[in-house]
Amino acid sequence: MTLSNGTVPDESQKLGEIIEASTVQVVAQSYELNVAPPFGSLVRMPHGPPRTSGAVYGVVTCIETTALDASRRPMARGQDADSRQAVFEQHPQLTELFRTHFTIHVLGYAMGDGIHHALPPLPPEIHQFVYTCTREQVGTFTASPGYLPLLLAATGPAGDEAVSTFLRGASAVRSPSDAESYLVAAAKQLIVLLRGDATRLNTLLGRLA
């Protein structure tokens, strides 16, 4: 996949920034509280020298909102308020005391010569932006099923939920008939990859369709 020089496609949104990175896993912080790419969706992080089309791709496996200062425990404040919104109006500083973070498991990367369903040679860089992917980008990244082994390995606290959500999402960007053959092909790979673990396979297959 190539991106036109440095520009981001229209529907792609810049939602956060990398604050922790390894070749396997990335933690990003959202710019806005409670806003993050959806759980189980594909995200894109530009990678490599500037103004090239290089990028690292990953799946969002966990989203959490926590207090900025981990040593101070937040308190309940809405006993007398009518709504959550009212709480924030009364205590405007609250927005600054919390942050939304999301975890990304790496599924592959793109370099000049196309997409690789493998871990990148170097981890995504700190403070790199995190973008949601367009339908087209999702379609291209999932065109062949090579990302499945990494996806199956990307178990966050929610187990295989991210896997099934990812696959359903990838099928949704396709036309109905393509969506079905995409799911069948993916299911076939699951059957092979999860040989010997019939329980996990059965659960996953059950969530797919």
């Binding site: 069948v184 299911a187 076939k188 297959l205 369709a209």
Partner: protein, 554 residues
């Protein structure tokens, strides 16, 4: 190996040539037991059938195989005991070919090199792709439409593909047509005979016990009568009869009536027919002494003419023979007089007549008329004639060897109810046993037709080069036919699954590998005659012309 290779090409673009349909790939196997193919998920297992041809592309050569078994397999036993929700079409589709897949067991029968086919001495490597064999491949193996090949039928489910027999190989050794009653032996035999005639592969002497080859045979089908050889091939076929009356009443245009003079019957002839005459060994020995005693050619006539106890007693004394033996012998041989074609002295020399035709390359069909189920008539006549004709052929071959000249034409003698001549008791002494055992040495071979091959002497059976067998149900018969054939365990299954009519398993000398065919149609349509070169009006005119020429002795 990529996963794609494991699963086979996906739905969309398969770059393989459109004429070859991929079935799967080799995953297991041995030279002794054959190969296991994993079916591609796109191929429904029900589209693959036992007996079908499969070509496996090895790295160095192609392996031509036959499907012998189909099996369902799962990668994980848990998938079998605790299957995913297959009511969901996506899951069901995904499982097909991956977790649950079809395994096709094939037996390689030939390797196809660039030039010629050879026996199988190795196996293709793991993951070699397997394809449905194409029509061209099959026809390359079984021969093309030329003078040396006879179209016998089509592989099952491949109506437009022709299986052909190699005629020189078919006729140079004895061959056999087997099958239980009503399976199509007579029709198959007719096709063989017509093919041999059409291509001039051999001259034939046909002992037509049931009067169905020369002129008009009966069929259970919609057309109740089918044409005989004389009708198709005119003057290239002569019909002889043992029973002029019966032939005339069937409006058969016969060429000669066979008569046998008592003076022509030798002790050996009677010995050939001992079983049919009900003679024991003592009685057979007595015949030889009798002949020496009474002497000349008239010994049998004289003996049969003897009447009264005293005459026989005297004779017995002078021969130092037990009187009981002699009178029993007398009683039994009297049975010969009930056969109308036996006369004290024949008016014509039937053997000479027969030889005249055969030596001119004209096929002779001998009808038995009313003797269609008379074992004595069949055994006596067939043995007598064959013994004399065989002797002539042996002479001719030896002469040709000595003079380095052209040997006589190949002669094929067809015998229906062959077990009457070739059962273990008779095969050792009759001429047919000898012909079968001498094989091709003297250019005479047999085409035996029988519904009970187990009743035929096993040594004779083992000398039969090409076996064409319709459905056989009796285990003994199946074992007898398959004895000594490589891969007979697999063939046994194939044989048992034949349909009860017009299907046959062919194996042996005239085919490069065992093959199951739906026999070519005979007689149901005018085209079936035309395919043997028969032309209705034109044939008659040509025949008349040729007949006239033959009459003039040209």
């Amino acid at each position: 190996m990529t996963l794609d290779a494991f699963f086979g090409p996906r739905g969309e673009a398969s770059p393989a040539a459109p004429t070859r349909r991929r079935l799967g790939m080799v995953i297991n196997g041995s030279l002794a037991e054959g190969l296991d193919l994993k079916l591609d998920s796109a191929v429904p297992i029900e589209a693959v059938k036992a007996g079908q041809y499969v070509t496996v592309d090895g790295e160095r050569s192609r392996f031509f195989c036959v499907v012998s078994d189909l099996r369902l397999a799962t990668t994980d036993p848990a998938l079998a005991t605790n299957p995913p929700d297959v009511s969901n079409p996506i899951i069901a589709q995904a499982l097909r070919g991956t977790g649950a897949y079809g395994v096709v067991h094939v037996v390689p029968t030939l390797t196809q090199g660039t030039e010629k086919n050879g026996p199988v001495r190795t196996v293709p490597p793991h993951y070699s792709p397997a394809y449905e064999s194409t029509q061209q491949e099959i026809e390359r193996i079984f021969g093309h439409d030329d003078d040396e090949h006879l179209w016998i039928g089509s592989p099952l489910d491949m109506e437009d593909t022709f299986i052909r027999l190699d005629l020189p190989r078919l006729t140079e050794r004895s061959s056999g047509v087997f099958g239980k009653s009503g399976t199509g032996k007579t029709f198959l035999t007719r096709i063989l005979m017509a093919g041999i005639l059409q291509k001039g592969a051999a001259v034939q002497l046909i002992f037509d016990m049931h009067n169905e080859y020369g002129w008009m045979g009966t069929s259970e089908g919609s057309t109740t009568q089918v044409k005989g050889l004389k009708q198709l091939f005119g003057s290239r076929v002569a019909v002889f009869t043992l029973d002029e009356e019966a032939s005339r009443s069937r409006r058969v245009d016969t060429d000669a009536t066979v008569e046998i003079g008592l003076d022509a019957i030798t002790p050996e002839d009677l010995q050939d027919s001992a079983e049919a005459l009900g003679l024991n060994d003592t009685q057979v020995q007595a015949i030889h002494r009798l002949e020496r005693r009474l002497g000349g050619k008239s010994w049998l006539g004289e003996f049969l003419a003897m009447e009264g106890r005293n005459t026989l007693t005297e004779l017995a004394e002078s021969l130092a023979e037990h009187e009981g033996t002699l009178s029993a012998l007398h009683r039994r041989l009297k049975g010969l007089e009930r056969l109308t074609f036996i006369r004290p002295k024949a008016r014509t020399d039937s053997v000479k007549q027969l030889l005249d035709y055969l030596e001119r390359g004209i096929t002779v069909v001998l009808e038995f008329g009313r003797y269609r189920s008379n074992g004595l008539a069949q055994v006596l006549v067939a043995n007598m004639l064959s013994r004399r004709i065989y002797a002539r052929w042996v002479d001719a071959v030896e002469k040709a060897l000595a003079e380095k000249s052209k040997p006589p034409t190949q002669l094929v003698i067809t015998l229906e109810e062959a077990h009457k001549f070739l059962n273990p008791h008779m095969a050792g002494q009759t001429i047919f046993g000898e012909i079968a055992r001498e094989m091709r040495k003297y250019n005479v071979t047999l085409l035996v037709v029988d519904q009970r091959p187990s009743a035929i002497d096993s040594e004779v059976l083992s000398q039969i080069g090409t076996k064409i067998t319709c459905l056989l149900e009796d285990d003994k018969d199946v074992s007898a036919v398959l004895a000594g054939t490589p891969g007979s365990a697999g063939l046994r299954g194939v044989l048992a699954r034949l349909e009860s009519k017009q299907q046959a398993l062919i194996f042996g000398h005239a085919v490069p590998m065992p093959v199951v065919v739906r026999t070519r149609d005979y007689g149901s349509t005018p085209e079936s005659y035309a395919s043997f070169g028969f032309q209705e009006g034109a044939a008659l005119a040509r025949q008349a012309e040729r007949d006239a020429r033959d009459l003039m002795g040209e």
